[in-house]
């Protein structure tokens, strides 16, 4: 846990119940997930009931209450990408890193998830790693790409 960054976020929003979602987003960005410990700390620092923090953490898809990997792989399976072969991209990635959509690998390197249209239909099938979009990759290219991350 990067304590300095987290404490920085808490100091910035101390006692501001209205900034709850803001704080959760910043911590999610930093840690890639919200642990129980963090959720309790958020409720203490922002003076909001823990029940509300939990409700919001479980409600929005962008928050994760289970550990996520350092790099987030998103594969578009929207209509356009599907037709252009998203399934084979997904299969390749699954084979290479050994996890299914919604899962995280053991050393918390990658998390894989399928997403719907990201607005890049012309360059489908699209694969997005840590918000960087790549398009029309062959199996070999995907393998090379994944090797760059650690």
């Amino acid at each position: 846990m990067n304590n300095d960054r987290i404490n920085g976020i808490f100091n910035k929003y101390q006692g501001q119940a209205g900034s709850l979602i803001r704080v959760m987003m910043e911590i999610q960005e930093e840690e890639h997930w919200l642990s129980r410990e963090i959720l309790v700390k958020i409720s203490e620092k922002l003076e909001v009931p823990l029940s509300r923090v939990l409700r919001i953490a479980t409600y929005y898809k962008s928050f994760s209450v289970t550990p996520k990997g350092r790099h987030e792989i998103q594969i578009c399976t929207g209509t356009a990408c599907h037709i252009r072969g998203a399934q084979s991209v997904l299969d390749t990635v699954q084979d290479l890193i050994g996890i299914k959509p919604g899962e995280t690998d053991l050393d918390q390197k990658f998390s894989l998830e399928t997403v719907n249209c990201q607005g890049s239909c012309t360059c489908g099938p699209m694969i997005k790693i840590d918000q960087v979009t790549q398009s029309r990759l062959s199996s070999a290219q995907i393998a090379d790409l994944l090797k760059k991350y650690d």
């Binding site: 823990l50 029940s51 509300r52 939990l54 409700r55 479980t58 409600y59």
Partner: protein, 202 residues
């Protein structure tokens, strides 16, 4: 406070500004069936079972009586063919979740709702939010909350708070129109503080 005169089921009813149709009806002795309403809690409008016909300037709207504010010359109908159909549908949908809830079964008899109409998905919870809101608004403990969304939404006790507060309170139990809360409570009790099974509270 200014007085407002409206009509409910053909009866002239006097209400004061800021009241809801449900409150005005209750004051005049007219019953509107409710599921998620509780007098100590803020109106929620979750179950829609209190839906009534409200006629303003010749237009009929179907509104939730527990939320709709009274207005002059408002004409409200609490029973009609269409309202019965709406309530029957709501009941049938809720019965798919809590087929054995006594409150629902009584209402089902009255409205002729069949509990087998929709495929059963017995979660024992109808999401009325009574327990959640009671804990937050009256007790101010926030020991129970809704988690998740959509069809996986469910009530959940927060072990950190529940272990301190719930044992001596349990006031939300009798509020539940089904027996979901009881079940969830027992579940959390078993999971989070198994020692209490053998040693009662201090």
């Amino acid at each position: 406070m200014s007085e407002i005169i409206l009509q409910i089921d053909g009866k002239e009813v006097t209400a004061s500004e800021g009241m809801t149709v449900l409150e005005a009806a209750q004051q005049a002795g007219i019953t509107i069936p409710t599921l998620c309403h509780h007098e100590k809690l803020d109106p929620y409008g979750g179950c829609r079972f209190c839906t009534v016909e409200a006629e303003v300037r010749g237009w009929t709207n179907f509104v939730a009586a527990c939320l709709y504010p009274v207005a002059n010359n408002l004409v409200v109908k609490t029973r009609s063919e269409k309202l019965n159909r709406i309530r029957k549908m709501i009941l049938e949908l809720l019965l798919a979740h809590a087929p054995d809830a006594f409150d629902l079964q009584d209402l089902a008899k009255e409205y002729g709702a069949k509990k087998d109409r929709f495929e059963k998905e017995a979660s024992f919870c109808i999401h009325c939010g009574l327990c959640v809101r009671y804990c937050a608004e009256v007790k101010k403990k926030n020991a129970i909350t809704f988690v998740d969304k959509g069809k996986t939404r469910e009530i959940s006790f927060i072990p950190e708070i529940a272990s301190k507060e719930c044992w001596s309170c349990k006031e939300c139990f009798p509020l539940c129109p089904t027996e979901a809360l009881q079940a969830a409570y027992v579940l959390v009790q078993a999971l989070a503080f198994p020692s209490l099974e053998s040693t009662p509270a201090e």
